[in-house]
Protein backbone atom coordinates (compact mmCIF):
# COMPACT_ATOMS: atom_id res chain seq x y z
CA UNK A 1 0.00 0.00 0.00
CA UNK A 2 2.80 2.34 0.93
CA UNK A 3 4.61 2.04 -2.38
CA UNK A 4 1.36 2.40 -4.32
CA UNK A 5 0.84 5.72 -2.56
CA UNK A 6 4.42 6.68 -3.31
CA UNK A 7 4.04 5.88 -7.00
CA UNK A 8 0.83 7.90 -7.21
CA UNK A 9 2.68 10.76 -5.65
CA UNK A 10 5.46 10.43 -8.20
CA UNK A 11 3.04 10.39 -11.09
CA UNK A 12 1.21 13.33 -9.69
CA UNK A 13 4.22 15.41 -9.00
CA UNK A 14 6.98 15.24 -11.56
CA UNK A 15 9.13 17.88 -9.86
CA UNK A 16 8.49 17.73 -6.11
CA UNK A 17 11.53 19.86 -5.29
CA UNK A 18 10.61 22.63 -7.75
CA UNK A 19 7.04 22.72 -6.52
CA UNK A 20 8.19 22.81 -2.92
CA UNK A 21 10.56 25.71 -3.55
CA UNK A 22 7.91 27.59 -5.53
CA UNK A 23 5.45 27.14 -2.67
CA UNK A 24 8.03 28.34 -0.15
CA UNK A 25 8.62 31.53 -2.14
CA UNK A 26 4.89 32.15 -2.57
CA UNK A 27 4.21 31.47 1.10
CA UNK A 28 6.91 33.96 2.08
CA UNK A 29 5.36 36.58 -0.19
CA UNK A 30 1.95 35.83 1.29
CA UNK A 31 3.17 36.11 4.86
CA UNK A 32 5.24 39.25 4.33
CA UNK A 33 2.38 41.73 4.91
CA UNK A 34 1.31 40.08 8.15
CA UNK A 35 4.91 39.69 9.26
CA UNK A 36 5.46 43.38 8.65
CA UNK A 37 2.67 44.35 11.02
CA UNK A 38 3.95 41.91 13.61
CA UNK A 39 7.42 43.43 13.36
CA UNK A 40 6.16 46.99 13.51
CA UNK A 41 4.14 46.20 16.62
CA UNK A 42 7.27 45.31 18.61
CA UNK A 43 9.30 48.36 17.55
CA UNK A 44 9.45 51.92 18.72
CA UNK A 45 7.88 54.61 16.57
CA UNK A 46 11.32 56.13 16.15
CA UNK A 47 12.85 52.92 14.80
CA UNK A 48 10.03 52.63 12.23
CA UNK A 49 10.31 56.27 11.17
CA UNK A 50 14.04 55.74 10.62
CA UNK A 51 13.15 53.13 8.03
CA UNK A 52 13.98 50.20 10.23
CA UNK A 53 10.63 48.45 9.95
CA UNK A 54 11.67 45.33 8.08
CA UNK A 55 14.62 44.20 10.18
CA UNK A 56 14.32 41.67 12.97
CA UNK A 57 14.59 43.56 16.26
CA UNK A 58 17.28 42.57 18.76
CA UNK A 59 14.97 43.58 21.61
CA UNK A 60 11.22 43.05 21.63
CA UNK A 61 9.49 46.27 22.57
CA UNK A 62 6.15 45.59 24.22
CA UNK A 63 5.14 49.16 25.06
CA UNK A 64 2.85 49.31 22.01
CA UNK A 65 0.79 46.44 23.34
CA UNK A 66 0.75 47.96 26.81
CA UNK A 67 -0.54 51.20 25.30
CA UNK A 68 -3.32 49.41 23.40
CA UNK A 69 -4.37 47.16 26.26
CA UNK A 70 -4.47 49.99 28.80
CA UNK A 71 -6.59 52.25 26.61
CA UNK A 72 -10.13 52.35 28.07
CA UNK A 73 -11.59 53.09 24.63
CA UNK A 74 -10.18 49.79 23.36
CA UNK A 75 -11.86 47.96 26.26
CA UNK A 76 -15.15 49.57 25.33
CA UNK A 77 -14.73 48.64 21.64
CA UNK A 78 -13.98 45.04 22.55
CA UNK A 79 -16.92 44.79 24.91
CA UNK A 80 -19.30 46.26 22.30
CA UNK A 81 -18.02 43.89 19.64
CA UNK A 82 -18.59 40.92 21.93
CA UNK A 83 -22.06 42.20 22.85
CA UNK A 84 -22.91 42.28 19.14
CA UNK A 85 -21.11 39.18 17.92
CA UNK A 86 -22.17 36.61 20.50
CA UNK A 87 -25.94 37.20 20.48
CA UNK A 88 -26.09 37.70 16.70
CA UNK A 89 -24.10 34.52 16.05
CA UNK A 90 -26.33 32.57 18.38
CA UNK A 91 -29.61 34.02 17.08
CA UNK A 92 -28.80 33.60 13.41
CA UNK A 93 -27.83 29.96 13.92
CA UNK A 94 -30.99 29.31 15.96
CA UNK A 95 -33.19 30.77 13.22
CA UNK A 96 -31.25 28.85 10.57
CA UNK A 97 -31.83 25.61 12.48
CA UNK A 98 -35.60 26.21 12.62
CA UNK A 99 -35.92 27.09 8.94
CA UNK A 100 -33.42 24.44 7.83
CA UNK A 101 -35.41 21.71 9.56
CA UNK A 102 -38.61 22.64 7.78
CA UNK A 103 -36.91 22.89 4.38
CA UNK A 104 -35.20 19.52 4.87
CA UNK A 105 -37.88 17.43 6.55
CA UNK A 106 -41.23 19.14 6.08
CA UNK A 107 -41.21 20.36 2.49
CA UNK A 108 -44.41 21.88 1.18
CA UNK A 109 -45.68 23.31 -2.08
CA UNK A 110 -43.53 26.32 -2.90
CA UNK A 111 -40.95 25.53 -0.24
CA UNK A 112 -38.21 25.25 -2.84
CA UNK A 113 -38.94 28.74 -4.11
CA UNK A 114 -39.05 30.13 -0.59
CA UNK A 115 -35.75 28.41 0.17
CA UNK A 116 -34.18 29.90 -2.96
CA UNK A 117 -35.38 33.39 -2.01
CA UNK A 118 -33.96 33.07 1.49
CA UNK A 119 -30.63 31.70 0.26
CA UNK A 120 -30.20 34.30 -2.46
CA UNK A 121 -30.24 36.85 0.35
CA UNK A 122 -26.58 36.17 0.94
CA UNK A 123 -25.58 37.31 -2.53
CA UNK A 124 -26.87 40.87 -2.45
CA UNK A 125 -24.68 43.83 -1.58
CA UNK A 126 -25.72 45.19 1.82
CA UNK A 127 -25.88 48.68 0.31
CA UNK A 128 -29.19 47.66 -1.21
CA UNK A 129 -30.94 47.68 2.19
CA UNK A 130 -28.91 50.41 3.86
CA UNK A 131 -31.23 53.39 3.52
CA UNK A 132 -34.53 51.72 4.50
CA UNK A 133 -32.93 50.05 7.52
CA UNK A 134 -31.46 53.37 8.62
CA UNK A 135 -34.91 54.92 8.37
CA UNK A 136 -36.51 52.01 10.22
CA UNK A 137 -34.13 52.11 13.18
CA UNK A 138 -34.07 55.89 13.19
CA UNK A 139 -37.85 55.83 13.51
CA UNK A 140 -37.61 53.33 16.37
CA UNK A 141 -35.06 55.52 18.17
CA UNK A 142 -32.50 52.73 18.09
CA UNK A 143 -29.75 54.59 16.21
CA UNK A 144 -26.58 54.78 18.27
CA UNK A 145 -27.39 51.61 20.19
CA UNK A 146 -26.06 48.10 19.55
CA UNK A 147 -29.55 46.71 18.81
CA UNK A 148 -29.73 47.43 15.08
CA UNK A 149 -26.33 45.81 14.50
CA UNK A 150 -27.38 42.67 16.39
CA UNK A 151 -30.73 42.48 14.60
CA UNK A 152 -29.34 43.08 11.13
CA UNK A 153 -26.57 40.52 11.55
CA UNK A 154 -29.13 38.01 12.80
CA UNK A 155 -31.25 38.58 9.72
CA UNK A 156 -28.33 38.58 7.29
CA UNK A 157 -27.05 35.33 8.80
CA UNK A 158 -30.31 33.51 8.10
CA UNK A 159 -29.46 32.63 4.44
CA UNK A 160 -26.15 30.88 5.11
CA UNK A 161 -27.40 29.24 8.32
CA UNK A 162 -30.57 27.97 6.67
CA UNK A 163 -28.62 26.68 3.69
CA UNK A 164 -26.05 24.75 5.71
CA UNK A 165 -28.56 23.40 8.24
CA UNK A 166 -30.95 22.28 5.51
CA UNK A 167 -28.17 20.43 3.70
CA UNK A 168 -27.04 18.86 6.94
CA UNK A 169 -30.51 17.86 8.13
CA UNK A 170 -31.33 16.44 4.69
CA UNK A 171 -28.48 13.96 5.19
CA UNK A 172 -29.93 12.72 8.50
CA UNK A 173 -31.87 9.51 7.69
CA UNK A 174 -35.64 9.91 7.65
CA UNK A 175 -35.96 6.62 9.54
CA UNK A 176 -34.62 8.32 12.68
CA UNK A 177 -37.29 10.97 12.55
CA UNK A 178 -40.06 8.46 11.83
CA UNK A 179 -38.95 6.19 14.65
CA UNK A 180 -39.03 9.11 17.07
CA UNK A 181 -42.47 10.18 15.83
CA UNK A 182 -43.82 6.63 16.28
CA UNK A 183 -42.54 6.64 19.84
CA UNK A 184 -44.68 9.68 20.47
CA UNK A 185 -42.19 12.51 20.04
CA UNK A 186 -43.42 15.72 18.46
CA UNK A 187 -41.62 17.67 15.76
CA UNK A 188 -39.90 19.94 18.27
CA UNK A 189 -38.49 16.94 20.10
CA UNK A 190 -37.38 15.40 16.83
CA UNK A 191 -35.49 18.58 16.06
CA UNK A 192 -33.93 19.21 19.47
CA UNK A 193 -33.36 15.62 20.67
CA UNK A 194 -32.65 13.76 17.43
CA UNK A 195 -31.50 16.09 14.68
CA UNK A 196 -29.56 18.70 16.65
CA UNK A 197 -27.32 16.34 18.64
CA UNK A 198 -26.29 14.81 15.30
CA UNK A 199 -25.50 18.16 13.76
CA UNK A 200 -22.82 19.46 16.08
CA UNK A 201 -20.29 19.66 13.21
CA UNK A 202 -22.66 21.85 11.20
CA UNK A 203 -23.25 24.06 14.23
CA UNK A 204 -19.49 24.37 14.69
CA UNK A 205 -19.06 25.35 11.05
CA UNK A 206 -21.71 28.05 11.38
CA UNK A 207 -20.44 29.30 14.72
CA UNK A 208 -16.93 29.86 13.35
CA UNK A 209 -18.17 31.51 10.14
CA UNK A 210 -20.74 33.76 11.75
CA UNK A 211 -18.48 34.80 14.62
CA UNK A 212 -15.70 35.75 12.22
CA UNK A 213 -17.94 37.68 9.84
CA UNK A 214 -19.78 39.60 12.51
CA UNK A 215 -16.63 40.34 14.50
CA UNK A 216 -14.94 41.67 11.37
CA UNK A 217 -17.87 43.70 10.15
CA UNK A 218 -17.42 47.40 9.59
CA UNK A 219 -20.35 48.69 7.55
CA UNK A 220 -23.25 48.20 9.97
CA UNK A 221 -21.64 49.72 13.05
CA UNK A 222 -20.48 52.58 10.81
CA UNK A 223 -24.07 53.27 9.77
CA UNK A 224 -25.88 52.61 13.03
CA UNK A 225 -23.61 54.08 15.69
CA UNK A 226 -22.21 57.56 16.20
CA UNK A 227 -20.84 58.03 19.69
CA UNK A 228 -17.47 56.60 20.55
CA UNK A 229 -18.74 54.42 23.40
CA UNK A 230 -21.05 52.51 21.03
CA UNK A 231 -18.43 51.73 18.40
CA UNK A 232 -17.09 48.26 17.69
CA UNK A 233 -13.45 47.34 17.38
CA UNK A 234 -13.14 47.64 13.59
CA UNK A 235 -14.49 51.19 13.73
CA UNK A 236 -12.19 51.69 16.69
CA UNK A 237 -9.15 50.91 14.55
CA UNK A 238 -10.17 53.67 12.16
CA UNK A 239 -11.00 56.12 14.97
CA UNK A 240 -7.74 55.56 16.80
CA UNK A 241 -5.77 56.19 13.62
CA UNK A 242 -6.25 59.86 14.44
CA UNK A 243 -5.03 59.49 18.00
CA UNK A 244 -1.99 57.44 17.00
CA UNK A 245 -1.20 59.24 13.73
CA UNK A 246 2.50 58.45 13.51
CA UNK A 247 2.56 55.82 16.26
CA UNK A 248 2.73 53.06 13.67
CA UNK A 249 3.76 50.47 16.23
CA UNK A 250 0.69 51.14 18.33
CA UNK A 251 -1.53 50.88 15.25
CA UNK A 252 0.07 47.56 14.39
CA UNK A 253 -0.45 46.24 17.89
CA UNK A 254 -4.07 47.37 17.81
CA UNK A 255 -4.71 45.61 14.49
CA UNK A 256 -3.27 42.40 15.83
CA UNK A 257 -5.14 42.57 19.13
CA UNK A 258 -8.38 43.24 17.23
CA UNK A 259 -7.77 40.23 14.98
CA UNK A 260 -6.78 37.91 17.81
CA UNK A 261 -10.22 36.36 18.47
CA UNK A 262 -10.81 35.52 14.81
CA UNK A 263 -7.21 34.36 14.34
CA UNK A 264 -7.50 32.00 17.30
CA UNK A 265 -10.82 30.65 16.05
CA UNK A 266 -9.40 30.23 12.57
CA UNK A 267 -6.29 28.39 13.71
CA UNK A 268 -8.18 26.05 16.03
CA UNK A 269 -11.28 25.44 13.93
CA UNK A 270 -9.70 25.77 10.50
CA UNK A 271 -11.34 22.54 9.34
CA UNK A 272 -14.83 23.84 10.12
CA UNK A 273 -14.04 27.23 8.68
CA UNK A 274 -12.90 25.84 5.34
CA UNK A 275 -15.77 23.40 5.23
CA UNK A 276 -18.24 26.22 5.72
CA UNK A 277 -16.56 28.33 3.06
CA UNK A 278 -16.70 25.56 0.46
CA UNK A 279 -20.14 24.25 1.43
CA UNK A 280 -21.69 27.70 1.37
CA UNK A 281 -20.03 28.42 -1.94
CA UNK A 282 -20.70 25.23 -3.81
CA UNK A 283 -24.21 24.37 -2.74
CA UNK A 284 -25.27 28.00 -3.09
Amino acid sequence: MADVAASVQDRFNPWPATVFVALCILATLFLAPTAGVLLSSVKTTRAIALGDLWSVPDRIYLENYAEVLSNPAVHRYFLNTLLVTVPATFASIALGVLAGHVFAKLPFRGSNILFLIVVSGMFFPPQVILVPLFRLFNGLGLIDTLWPIILVHTALGIPICTLLMRNFFAAVPNALREAALIEGANEWQVLTRVALPLSLPALAVLATLQFTWIWNDFLWPLIFTQSDDKRTIMIGIVNLRGQYTVAWGVQGALSLVASLPTLVIFLFFQRYFIKGMTMGAIKG
Binding site: F123, Q127, L222
Partner: protein, 293 residues
Protein backbone atom coordinates in the same frame (compact mmCIF):
# COMPACT_ATOMS: atom_id res chain seq x y z
CA UNK B 1 -50.44 13.71 10.58
CA UNK B 2 -50.52 16.16 7.69
CA UNK B 3 -52.40 18.74 9.72
CA UNK B 4 -49.83 18.39 12.46
CA UNK B 5 -47.04 18.86 9.92
CA UNK B 6 -48.74 22.01 8.72
CA UNK B 7 -48.88 23.37 12.24
CA UNK B 8 -45.20 22.65 12.83
CA UNK B 9 -44.20 24.24 9.56
CA UNK B 10 -45.89 27.45 10.61
CA UNK B 11 -44.50 27.33 14.13
CA UNK B 12 -40.92 26.66 13.05
CA UNK B 13 -40.83 28.96 10.05
CA UNK B 14 -42.64 31.90 11.64
CA UNK B 15 -39.71 33.49 13.41
CA UNK B 16 -37.00 33.08 10.75
CA UNK B 17 -39.30 34.22 7.97
CA UNK B 18 -40.58 37.15 10.02
CA UNK B 19 -37.07 38.39 10.83
CA UNK B 20 -35.89 37.86 7.27
CA UNK B 21 -38.91 39.62 5.78
CA UNK B 22 -38.79 42.63 8.08
CA UNK B 23 -35.03 43.18 7.95
CA UNK B 24 -34.12 42.00 4.44
CA UNK B 25 -37.07 41.63 2.05
CA UNK B 26 -39.02 44.68 3.14
CA UNK B 27 -35.99 47.03 3.09
CA UNK B 28 -35.06 45.65 -0.31
CA UNK B 29 -38.48 46.53 -1.70
CA UNK B 30 -38.65 49.91 0.00
CA UNK B 31 -35.24 50.78 -1.46
CA UNK B 32 -37.08 50.89 -4.78
CA UNK B 33 -39.71 53.11 -3.18
CA UNK B 34 -37.21 55.59 -1.70
CA UNK B 35 -35.36 55.78 -4.99
CA UNK B 36 -38.33 57.81 -6.27
CA UNK B 37 -38.11 60.32 -3.39
CA UNK B 38 -35.80 63.02 -2.12
CA UNK B 39 -35.65 61.81 1.50
CA UNK B 40 -32.71 63.46 3.27
CA UNK B 41 -32.21 61.00 6.11
CA UNK B 42 -33.53 63.20 8.91
CA UNK B 43 -36.87 64.77 8.17
CA UNK B 44 -39.88 62.59 8.46
CA UNK B 45 -41.24 63.97 5.19
CA UNK B 46 -40.08 63.73 1.65
CA UNK B 47 -41.36 64.50 -1.80
CA UNK B 48 -41.94 62.28 -4.75
CA UNK B 49 -39.57 62.93 -7.61
CA UNK B 50 -40.78 60.27 -10.00
CA UNK B 51 -37.87 59.15 -12.10
CA UNK B 52 -35.76 62.23 -11.48
CA UNK B 53 -33.17 60.38 -9.39
CA UNK B 54 -32.65 57.93 -12.21
CA UNK B 55 -32.42 60.77 -14.71
CA UNK B 56 -29.74 62.32 -12.48
CA UNK B 57 -27.74 59.11 -12.67
CA UNK B 58 -27.18 59.69 -16.37
CA UNK B 59 -25.78 63.15 -15.87
CA UNK B 60 -23.82 62.41 -12.67
CA UNK B 61 -20.15 62.50 -13.62
CA UNK B 62 -19.28 60.73 -10.35
CA UNK B 63 -21.70 57.93 -11.11
CA UNK B 64 -20.08 57.42 -14.48
CA UNK B 65 -16.65 57.28 -12.82
CA UNK B 66 -18.03 54.82 -10.28
CA UNK B 67 -19.30 52.54 -13.04
CA UNK B 68 -15.91 52.61 -14.77
CA UNK B 69 -14.09 51.98 -11.48
CA UNK B 70 -16.48 49.19 -10.52
CA UNK B 71 -15.88 47.51 -13.86
CA UNK B 72 -12.09 47.66 -13.44
CA UNK B 73 -12.35 46.62 -9.80
CA UNK B 74 -14.62 43.64 -10.54
CA UNK B 75 -12.68 42.49 -13.59
CA UNK B 76 -9.35 42.60 -11.75
CA UNK B 77 -10.82 41.11 -8.59
CA UNK B 78 -12.15 38.32 -10.78
CA UNK B 79 -9.00 37.53 -12.72
CA UNK B 80 -6.29 37.88 -10.07
CA UNK B 81 -7.62 35.72 -7.21
CA UNK B 82 -9.04 33.14 -9.63
CA UNK B 83 -5.76 32.59 -11.45
CA UNK B 84 -3.55 32.66 -8.35
CA UNK B 85 -6.03 30.47 -6.50
CA UNK B 86 -6.05 27.93 -9.33
CA UNK B 87 -2.27 28.00 -9.56
CA UNK B 88 -1.85 27.43 -5.82
CA UNK B 89 -4.46 24.66 -5.82
CA UNK B 90 -2.66 22.88 -8.67
CA UNK B 91 0.64 23.13 -6.81
CA UNK B 92 -0.86 21.95 -3.53
CA UNK B 93 -2.82 19.10 -5.07
CA UNK B 94 0.46 17.33 -5.73
CA UNK B 95 0.75 16.16 -2.13
CA UNK B 96 3.85 18.19 -1.61
CA UNK B 97 5.64 18.15 1.74
CA UNK B 98 4.10 20.56 4.25
CA UNK B 99 0.92 21.02 2.18
CA UNK B 100 -1.12 21.57 5.34
CA UNK B 101 1.04 24.45 6.49
CA UNK B 102 1.09 26.01 3.03
CA UNK B 103 -2.70 25.87 2.85
CA UNK B 104 -3.01 27.55 6.24
CA UNK B 105 -0.65 30.31 5.12
CA UNK B 106 -2.61 30.97 1.93
CA UNK B 107 -6.02 31.13 3.48
CA UNK B 108 -5.08 32.85 6.68
CA UNK B 109 -5.96 36.31 5.25
CA UNK B 110 -9.60 35.19 4.86
CA UNK B 111 -10.14 35.35 8.60
CA UNK B 112 -8.81 38.92 8.86
CA UNK B 113 -11.23 41.79 8.58
CA UNK B 114 -11.04 44.00 5.51
CA UNK B 115 -10.16 46.85 7.86
CA UNK B 116 -7.08 45.04 9.17
CA UNK B 117 -6.13 43.94 5.66
CA UNK B 118 -6.42 47.57 4.53
CA UNK B 119 -4.32 48.72 7.46
CA UNK B 120 -1.64 46.15 6.63
CA UNK B 121 -1.47 47.23 3.02
CA UNK B 122 -1.39 50.92 3.89
CA UNK B 123 1.93 50.04 5.54
CA UNK B 124 3.17 48.22 2.49
CA UNK B 125 2.41 51.22 0.30
CA UNK B 126 3.73 53.75 2.83
CA UNK B 127 6.01 55.97 0.69
CA UNK B 128 8.95 56.42 3.11
CA UNK B 129 9.46 53.04 4.74
CA UNK B 130 6.75 50.76 3.29
CA UNK B 131 7.78 47.31 2.10
CA UNK B 132 7.15 48.07 -1.56
CA UNK B 133 9.19 51.26 -1.74
CA UNK B 134 11.92 49.81 0.48
CA UNK B 135 12.25 47.02 -2.02
CA UNK B 136 12.29 49.33 -5.04
CA UNK B 137 14.88 51.52 -3.31
CA UNK B 138 17.12 48.54 -2.70
CA UNK B 139 16.69 46.96 -6.09
CA UNK B 140 16.28 49.82 -8.56
CA UNK B 141 16.55 53.39 -7.46
CA UNK B 142 17.64 54.59 -3.99
CA UNK B 143 15.75 57.87 -4.40
CA UNK B 144 12.45 56.23 -5.30
CA UNK B 145 9.46 57.72 -3.58
CA UNK B 146 5.95 57.12 -4.80
CA UNK B 147 2.75 57.47 -2.79
CA UNK B 148 0.82 54.56 -4.27
CA UNK B 149 -2.45 55.32 -2.51
CA UNK B 150 -2.31 59.09 -3.02
CA UNK B 151 -2.00 59.03 -6.82
CA UNK B 152 -5.12 58.68 -8.96
CA UNK B 153 -3.22 56.47 -11.42
CA UNK B 154 -2.34 53.79 -8.93
CA UNK B 155 -4.81 54.00 -6.00
CA UNK B 156 -7.46 51.63 -7.36
CA UNK B 157 -4.90 49.06 -8.49
CA UNK B 158 -3.11 49.24 -5.15
CA UNK B 159 -6.36 48.35 -3.40
CA UNK B 160 -7.05 45.59 -5.95
CA UNK B 161 -3.76 43.91 -5.02
CA UNK B 162 -4.63 44.05 -1.32
CA UNK B 163 -8.10 42.67 -2.03
CA UNK B 164 -6.68 39.85 -4.16
CA UNK B 165 -4.25 38.95 -1.41
CA UNK B 166 -7.20 38.30 0.87
CA UNK B 167 -9.48 36.60 -1.66
CA UNK B 168 -6.96 34.19 -3.21
CA UNK B 169 -7.34 31.70 -0.36
CA UNK B 170 -11.06 31.40 -1.01
CA UNK B 171 -10.72 30.44 -4.66
CA UNK B 172 -7.82 28.13 -3.76
CA UNK B 173 -10.05 26.30 -1.27
CA UNK B 174 -12.85 25.89 -3.80
CA UNK B 175 -10.44 24.66 -6.47
CA UNK B 176 -8.84 22.23 -4.02
CA UNK B 177 -12.28 20.81 -3.24
CA UNK B 178 -12.90 20.50 -6.98
CA UNK B 179 -9.57 18.75 -7.54
CA UNK B 180 -10.38 16.02 -5.03
CA UNK B 181 -13.27 14.95 -7.26
CA UNK B 182 -10.94 14.27 -10.22
CA UNK B 183 -9.91 10.61 -9.93
CA UNK B 184 -6.14 10.15 -10.04
CA UNK B 185 -6.65 7.03 -12.18
CA UNK B 186 -7.81 9.33 -14.93
CA UNK B 187 -4.60 11.33 -14.74
CA UNK B 188 -2.57 8.15 -14.69
CA UNK B 189 -4.29 6.95 -17.84
CA UNK B 190 -3.46 10.27 -19.48
CA UNK B 191 0.16 9.85 -18.52
CA UNK B 192 0.31 6.28 -19.80
CA UNK B 193 -1.17 7.53 -23.05
CA UNK B 194 1.76 9.92 -23.24
CA UNK B 195 0.19 13.26 -22.28
CA UNK B 196 2.66 15.80 -20.94
CA UNK B 197 2.07 17.62 -17.67
CA UNK B 198 0.83 20.72 -19.50
CA UNK B 199 -1.52 18.70 -21.65
CA UNK B 200 -2.91 17.02 -18.58
CA UNK B 201 -3.49 20.36 -16.89
CA UNK B 202 -4.91 22.24 -19.89
CA UNK B 203 -6.84 19.45 -21.57
CA UNK B 204 -8.03 17.39 -18.61
CA UNK B 205 -7.79 19.06 -15.23
CA UNK B 206 -8.95 22.59 -16.07
CA UNK B 207 -11.95 21.45 -18.16
CA UNK B 208 -12.95 19.05 -15.37
CA UNK B 209 -12.71 21.92 -12.91
CA UNK B 210 -15.46 23.85 -14.73
CA UNK B 211 -17.97 23.46 -11.86
CA UNK B 212 -15.46 24.99 -9.45
CA UNK B 213 -14.66 27.76 -11.91
CA UNK B 214 -18.32 28.68 -12.17
CA UNK B 215 -18.51 28.98 -8.37
CA UNK B 216 -15.23 30.90 -8.08
CA UNK B 217 -16.16 33.36 -10.83
CA UNK B 218 -19.62 34.05 -9.42
CA UNK B 219 -18.36 34.37 -5.87
CA UNK B 220 -15.51 36.70 -6.88
CA UNK B 221 -17.89 38.97 -8.76
CA UNK B 222 -20.44 39.06 -5.95
CA UNK B 223 -17.79 39.64 -3.28
CA UNK B 224 -16.11 42.41 -5.22
CA UNK B 225 -19.44 44.08 -5.91
CA UNK B 226 -19.97 44.09 -2.13
CA UNK B 227 -16.42 45.32 -1.48
CA UNK B 228 -16.57 48.48 0.58
CA UNK B 229 -14.62 48.30 3.84
CA UNK B 230 -11.21 47.93 2.25
CA UNK B 231 -11.77 50.84 -0.13
CA UNK B 232 -13.14 52.92 2.71
CA UNK B 233 -10.06 52.48 4.88
CA UNK B 234 -7.39 52.53 2.17
CA UNK B 235 -8.51 55.37 -0.09
CA UNK B 236 -12.02 56.45 0.91
CA UNK B 237 -12.83 56.39 -2.81
CA UNK B 238 -10.15 58.98 -3.56
CA UNK B 239 -7.94 60.56 -4.66
CA UNK B 240 -10.25 62.55 -6.96
CA UNK B 241 -12.76 59.65 -6.93
CA UNK B 242 -10.25 57.46 -8.73
CA UNK B 243 -11.17 54.48 -6.57
CA UNK B 244 -14.83 55.33 -6.06
CA UNK B 245 -16.88 52.21 -6.81
CA UNK B 246 -20.67 51.94 -6.86
CA UNK B 247 -20.80 50.68 -3.28
CA UNK B 248 -18.61 53.59 -2.14
CA UNK B 249 -20.56 56.09 -4.23
CA UNK B 250 -23.84 54.87 -2.77
CA UNK B 251 -22.49 55.32 0.76
CA UNK B 252 -21.10 58.79 0.05
CA UNK B 253 -24.30 60.09 -1.53
CA UNK B 254 -26.51 58.63 1.22
CA UNK B 255 -24.50 59.08 4.38
CA UNK B 256 -22.06 61.90 3.58
CA UNK B 257 -24.29 64.15 1.48
CA UNK B 258 -27.52 62.79 3.02
CA UNK B 259 -29.11 62.35 -0.39
CA UNK B 260 -30.79 59.14 0.67
CA UNK B 261 -33.30 59.17 -2.17
CA UNK B 262 -30.54 59.42 -4.72
CA UNK B 263 -28.49 56.87 -2.78
CA UNK B 264 -31.43 54.48 -3.02
CA UNK B 265 -31.50 54.95 -6.79
CA UNK B 266 -27.83 53.91 -6.90
CA UNK B 267 -28.59 50.93 -4.69
CA UNK B 268 -31.30 49.89 -7.14
CA UNK B 269 -28.64 49.83 -9.86
CA UNK B 270 -26.43 47.74 -7.54
CA UNK B 271 -29.32 45.39 -6.93
CA UNK B 272 -29.95 44.91 -10.64
CA UNK B 273 -26.27 44.15 -11.29
CA UNK B 274 -26.26 41.60 -8.44
CA UNK B 275 -29.50 40.08 -9.71
CA UNK B 276 -28.00 39.62 -13.18
CA UNK B 277 -24.91 37.93 -11.79
CA UNK B 278 -26.98 35.63 -9.57
CA UNK B 279 -29.34 34.79 -12.42
CA UNK B 280 -26.48 33.80 -14.71
CA UNK B 281 -24.81 31.95 -11.83
CA UNK B 282 -27.85 29.82 -10.98
CA UNK B 283 -28.32 29.03 -14.66
CA UNK B 284 -24.69 27.97 -15.07
CA UNK B 285 -24.91 25.88 -11.90
CA UNK B 286 -27.88 24.05 -13.38
CA UNK B 287 -26.07 23.50 -16.68
CA UNK B 288 -22.93 22.31 -14.90
CA UNK B 289 -25.08 20.00 -12.80
CA UNK B 290 -26.56 18.45 -15.92
CA UNK B 291 -23.20 17.94 -17.60
CA UNK B 292 -21.02 16.95 -14.67
CA UNK B 293 -23.72 15.40 -12.49
Amino acid sequence: MESQNRLWRVLLLALPILVFSVLVIWPLLSSFYYSFTNWNGFNRDYEFLGLRNFAKIWTDRLFFDAIVNTTIWMAAALVLPTLTGLFLALLLDRQVRGARIFKTVFYLPICLSAIVVGQIWIWIYQPDWGLLNTFVKLAVNPDFNYAWLARPDSALFAVIVAWSWQQTGLSMVIYLAGLTSIPSEMLEVCEIEGATVWQRIWRVVIPLLTPSTVVVVALSMINSLKGFDILYIMTGGGPFNSSDTLAMHMYNESFKKYLMGYGSAISVVLFLIALTIIGVYFRQLKKVDEIYG
